[in-house]
Amino acid sequence: MATPPATTTSSWSLHLDGARCDGHGICAVCCPERIYLDAWGYAVTSPSPLHEGERSLARARRAVAACPAGALALVPSPRSRRGPALPGAVA
């Protein structure tokens, strides 16, 4: 889940699979500007896009890689219905 599928997209948004998030909280340490924890310790992500070359994108990538539950993904932004199946989708 660490690397999103290769596309030509240059902007991304953080996608959180609420069913996988266990509230470990490491993500919020990695990327505090886009992820905070609610009163119960579960992650809340900001939907605003992250652009290639931005510092925040690098930090968001670190958060995705660090999440022990595999709950985070970077998806092409704006989220396209016809885009690649999101990495979080498993049957």
Binding site: D17, A19, D22, D38, W40, G88, A89, A91
Partner: protein, 451 residues
């Protein structure tokens, strides 16, 4: 209007179902009633309409004679919005699945009707099963599927049994139909939960790609409500122009509602034929007549719907499409009347407690947040809340809105916040220590399973 056939040999003419009803057209009708479209046909006493009678009344429908692209443009012209609660444009969803037609798409007729007080989907299955099955074939033809799943609860015994018999009558058709018993849980009716269930795991919602892209066993999956699918059968037969004669431009087409609560016959399913206010609907029909004095409030759209103050609701135009309702969604079509004198906060506390227990328990904010919201409402209803408890309750709902892998938490938050606003007078009395029990008569309260 005519659409060319695939083979090009003969055009499909859309003939009107019947002469237009005499003016003034009725605003609504029940099963077999004048002017109805979905509910047209024999009266309830006649039982379910067999395949031979259904074909004699509406004509045969061989969907293989239609071009899938034509079917899609007909649905697009109709402006049909999904009747399962989300009001998503059906043509757009058909398009997404059709664009992946080479990946072996599946069509699911969502007839699970998890809303305990709703009956509209069950009435279609119990009396007009072939209309629903025709519509499923239209959907399958449009997206290029050969497999159709009818997803329903065996616990709704008459509906489940009737579809099973109706499926027996059409064994020889071009589509492979399967009737699947839905597991008993409110969220089991959510589209990604259905896809998970059909993939062999539990009926649990999941995040990730929409089921139209990645659904049952990884295949593109069209999940459409049973009523939505029945509309497809009419649109394909008689054309979008005919279908749009019902409703109005902002909310086209007929729509089904279930009346519940403090009305003469709760459980009545009506087909709305033109815009009508809640008051007009309740007053016009014997079965909808409010039994007591003017209602305190009306719950529109189901247990995850919206409370509206009685007088405001009575004047509110009731139709599909958010604009027609002043922003209130018709959701699953439930119109539930709370009597004057009944406590909306205590009633909502009971609904919230039940809904909290129906969570799949996968997502923290839903698993922890919904019981906390139910606790807050119960404390309020029993007169033990302070102003700061009430502020905390509002913070909880704000924290839970939009969270989790499915729409369940947001649905509960919508219900609870509309209750706190609609019943502000009651809230103030509770803050002064008044204690209430939920309405015991009339209003349809779910039975809460205590662990």
């Amino acid at each position: 209007m005519s659409y060319p056939l695939l083979s090009g040999d003969q055009a499909v003419e859309h003939r009107p179902l019947a002469a237009p009803p005499p003016a003034p057209a009725p605003a609504s009708g029940r099963l077999g009633g004048a002017g109805t479209r979905l509910l047209a046909g024999p009266p309830p006493e006649a039982g379910w309409e067999r395949l031979a009678d259904h074909m004699a009344r509406l004509g045969a429908l061989d969907v293989r004679r239609y071009d899938p692209a034509d079917l899609r443009s007909m649905v697009s012209e109709s402006g049909l919005l999904g009747r399962g609660g989300g009001q998503f444009p059906t043509a757009a969803k058909l398009g997404t699945v059709a664009s992946r037609g080479d990946l072996g798409p599946v069509v699911v007729v969502n007839a699970s009707e998890g809303e305990p007080a709703s009956r509209k989907d069950s009435v279609l299955l119990e009396y007009r099963p072939h209309l629903v099955l025709d519509g499923a074939e239209v959907a399958a033809r449009t997206v290029g599927a050969t497999e159709v799943v009818v997803y329903a609860h065996r616990a709704r015994r008459r509906a489940f049994g009737t579809v099973a018999e109706a499926l027996d009558e059409r064994r020889s058709g071009p589509y492979h139909f399967r009737l699947v018993d839905a597991p008993p849980r409110y969220v089991a009716g959510e589209s990604s939960a259905i896809a998970s269930f059909l993939s062999g795991t539990g009926a649990l919602p999941r995040g990730g790609a929409p089921v139209a892209v990645y659904g049952a066993r990884g295949r593109p999956t069209l999940v459409d409500n049973a009523e939505t699918v029945a509309h497809l059968a009419l649109i394909a037969r008689f054309g979008p122009a005919w279908w749009r004669q019902a409703g109005d431009d902002r909310a086209p087409g007929p729509t089904l509602v279930t009346l519940a609560g403090e009305v003469a016959s709760p459980g009545t399913v009506l087909e709305l034929l033109r815009p009508v206010s809640v008051g007009g609907l309740l007053g016009a029909t014997g079965s909808g007549a409010v039994t007591g004095p003017a209602p305190r409030a009306v719950l529109l759209g189901g247990y995850e719907g919206t409370w509206v103050d009685g007088p405001a609701a009575m004047a509110m135009p009731l139709a599909r499409g958010a604009a027609a309702l002043g922003g209130v969604r018709l959701g699953c079509g439930l119109v539930a009347v709370l009597a004057e004198g009944a406590c909306g906060i205590a009633t909502t506390a009971r609904l919230a407690r039940w809904l909290a227990g129906e969570s799949a328990g996968q997502c923290g904010p839903c698993r922890i947040g919904l019981p906390a919201i139910a606790d807050g409402l119960e404390t309020l209803a029993t007169g033990r809340s302070t102003k700061s408890d009430l502020r905390h309750l509002w913070r909880l709902t704000a924290q839970v809105r939009g969270r989790g892998a499915c729409g369940h938490p947001s649905g509960v938050v919508g219900l609870v916040e509309s209750a706190l606003e609609t019943f502000s007078v009651e809230v103030r009395e509770h803050l002064r220590g008044a204690a209430c029990l939920p309405a015991t008569r009339g209003f349809p309260l779910p039975v809460v399973r205590r662990p």
